[in-house]
Symmetry: C2
Amino acid sequence: MSILLVGEFGAEEYARWRENLAACLAGDEILRLATDKYDPASIEIALVANPPAGSLVGLRNLRLIQSLWAGVDRLLSDATVPAHVPIVRLIDPNLTQAMTECALACVMFLHRQFPAYAEQQATREWKKRPQTLARQRRVGILGFGQLGQAVAAALASLNFDVEAWSARSHSFEGIRTRTGQSGLAALLERSDILINLLPLTAETADILNANLFRQLPRGASIVNLARGGHLDEGSLLDALASGHLAHAILDVFREEPLPRDHPFWSHPRITALPHVAAETDMKTAAKIAADNIREFRGSRMPAPLVDRAKGY
Amino acid sequence: MSILLVGEFGAEEYARWRENLAACLAGDEILRLATDKYDPASIEIALVANPPAGSLVGLRNLRLIQSLWAGVDRLLSDATVPAHVPIVRLIDPNLTQAMTECALACVMFLHRQFPAYAEQQATREWKKRPQTLARQRRVGILGFGQLGQAVAAALASLNFDVEAWSARSHSFEGIRTRTGQSGLAALLERSDILINLLPLTAETADILNANLFRQLPRGASIVNLARGGHLDEGSLLDALASGHLAHAILDVFREEPLPRDHPFWSHPRITALPHVAAETDMKTAAKIAADNIREFRGSRMPAPLVDRAKGY
């Protein structure tokens, strides 16, 4: 039985994945979709990263789909993925750490008013703006899984006034968590900075929209580190134009790379990053995927198992 | 006996200082240099913030100079300040916290390559740059007093690889500290990001110069949160032009406000802030100064007492 590697990789990226995986999966044959020759019936496990729709059709002996990424929204939107095969997401402490550091960078940038001071520098204006300490700065986090919890803990350790919202209720020392529509409203009305770390599901698509922005305090800023599909782009432009929102930091977009003629590129109140919040570290990701495969073959289901009904 | 308030205050700023001080010093008369009428012999204590040279001449019964700021370089460069009168600096936990938050914002901004991504955004270039985790990022801190220690501790708590240098040797859990010229050289050669938090003295004036920049690794960035007199401006422009330094964040300048025709304003690789790293909080500063005055009158010398030979 063999392992199939499926994703939109360039040749060099593919070669590096294969090398890193082979180092942790001695004895397994690792095949690549479309370019390698293989009998579809021989494929036991698929390792997937952003797989094109239809990639897994015909693999009748497939027993496990291990994602090489944290997000599985593209996989779940593909109706051809066999419903009986378990899907396991990748939780890599290095990826969580990178995401946490990116979120901290975004929050500190907004907290210490770097965008406003950059505008002043451009016009040679020497003006001190009122100083706010972290304990007076209210940060709201949408999504409270591995990433949201790590980001919340790091922000709380720097004294930010943090609350988090998620679909399921959580308890977490030192962080007030909210759930449901009333919980969301309560979180929004007190968030000077709102960070989105939600999974993309039918419920969360377009959640960053005009109705949500309206509930934030005037002058709030948003940070989207999750998926482009969470953001209603036109509503963001409107909220920035009216001055209701002060700034947005966006790492993800509905179309990536962001098209050259997209208005976000040149918007003075948008900081656009090229989907770099948390790069997968192939070395650690390959090791975690390999450990999960061994666990699965040893008849224990690795975690976290995707719940298709929830969408993550 | 009375208290004299001395500084380059505007009328509104002066009124707020007086109000905050009066609230903590009931029973004391608080007078203002130059505008209020008083007998110079009646002045027991001077509360000073950036006092113009010569301000304290003729106060023959002066027993204590309490600075309302952390830095006393301007006071010590004034030869007319009576040498026998003790000078006490102000250590305000709120100011330390603000400085720590500003230093974190600067380090995260550089660590996560915000300047490089802003350049890419300006040219609509979608390009992922190699990701570095905090534990792989080497930060050097010049100055290891109250501020340097607080900044080092916060950076270390976020996993940065931190070292600090100061004139006196210190031991501090979890932070490698260095001293002397060889210690400085060792710190510089491993600092991807260098933060200056030194006091301005004869020894530290112009310390950020061509010789120092040369010892940093190529592509390093600097952050000056201390005094404009620490930086040789021409050398910085040269080091940025050659590409040896990648970026500089400057909060302080030799002349403030930064003159409108100064090249720093429009330099693409300089982030200029209008001396806002740590604003004095009048309310907490007035309370600390008042507590120090009561301690002094109770015959205990408040801390930290300035050592004129060391210059801070």
